[in-house]
Point group: C2
Chain length 204, copies 2
């Protein structure tokens, strides 16, 4: 890649890392430029505003999410669907342990963090984050449809249940970040399998 | 109450409202003082720092939470425990509808919002919010213990399950805020009863 697109990528990487570690409001364009080694004039060449940079960050997170989470765990074909949920929980635990070893903190979910902080303050960001959640819930729904087709769980409203699984993952992320203890993922994370396995009240 | 303690209460009320509507980082001491009609010099008479004001706000939220949520829904004695969970979901829906009618936004949970934004940035706040979550999970655990004692659900690890119910409530709050649509509470909220009713995987 040429120098120009490299600067753009560095801005996205810096913004992602700084926002994830702290918060969107706490880290401004000046600090992101300094961290990325990009002059502020160049910043506005790539992004008209901080909010536009945030959209690019969300796009990059979604690209990685589709490859590293959806492709491996939610759609991964060689393992039964409910077992893939268990593996996803363990993956989240390993990632949280590595993150805490490096920084001293559990950062939570970059999408949930940004949505919680900015949903009432930036309507464009809120809409984009809501779309991300829609895609995420749809991936859970597809996994549940597969479990229903295999007879692993009874037929039910998998669209609602997919949203419920996403809500659970998001809530675990909030509690684990607040306790700053990755081990809580292993304690309450597996409940997601119970939610996926017992959809009675969901379908009611 | 005298004028002095009234100023303190106004600062707590203003900070709660402004932070809940936007975010902790986005609203500083100057704006809180202006909103409360309190001079900045007086602010530091009551609170050594913004963080100390946040601790007072959390204390006030917990006081109301114990009265309005724990006392009415989680411990309320006249309705079976799982039905109380359903009533709590409906209460959350009604509150979210009223809030959106007034402001145009769903604000989510003041404790979850603050925890998500500040857990990596203020260790004292993180610890206080974690304690709030511990009390909240314990109230869910007590409700589940009651359901077990009545034979409504099988015996299980109600301590872990209480944390799972709290995680679910927090995650629903994140999704509903991001969609800015209270009706999502009625769609996915009732799943909490399924989680409370089917603790097999939790106890495993």
């Amino acid at each position: 890649m040429g120098r120009t697109s490299d600067a753009r990528s560095r801005l996205i990487e810096s913004a992602f890392g700084l926002w994830f570690a702290r918060s969107y409001s706490d880290v401004g364009v000046n600090e992101i430029c300094a961290h990325a080694g990009v002059r502020k004039g160049s910043f506005y060449h790539f992004f008209p505003s901080k909010s536009d940079l945030a959209l690019a960050v969300i796009g990059e997170v979604e690209r990685r999410f589709q490859t590293e989470i959806v492709g491996v765990y939610l759609e991964g074909p060689d393992v039964p669907p409910l077992e893939r949920l268990e593996k996803l929980i363990e993956h989240n635990y390993v990632v949280a342990v590595a993150g805490k070893d490096e920084s001293g903190h559990v950062y939570g979910c970059p999408i949930g963090n940004l949505a919680t902080e900015m949903a009432t303050q930036d309507e464009v960001l809120r809409g984009r984050l809501d779309t991300f959640f829609d895609h995420w819930a749809a991936a859970f729904t597809a996994l549940l449809d597969e479990a229903v087709a295999r007879g692993d769980v009874p037929p039910h409203d998998t669209r609602t249940a997919g949203l419920s699984l996403l809500a659970y993952v998001q809530g675990v992320s909030v509690l684990v970040k607040t306790r700053n203890d990755p081990s809580l993922i292993r304690t309450i994370g597996p409940t997601i399998v119970a939610i996926a396995s017992a959809p009675a009240a969901v379908a009611a």
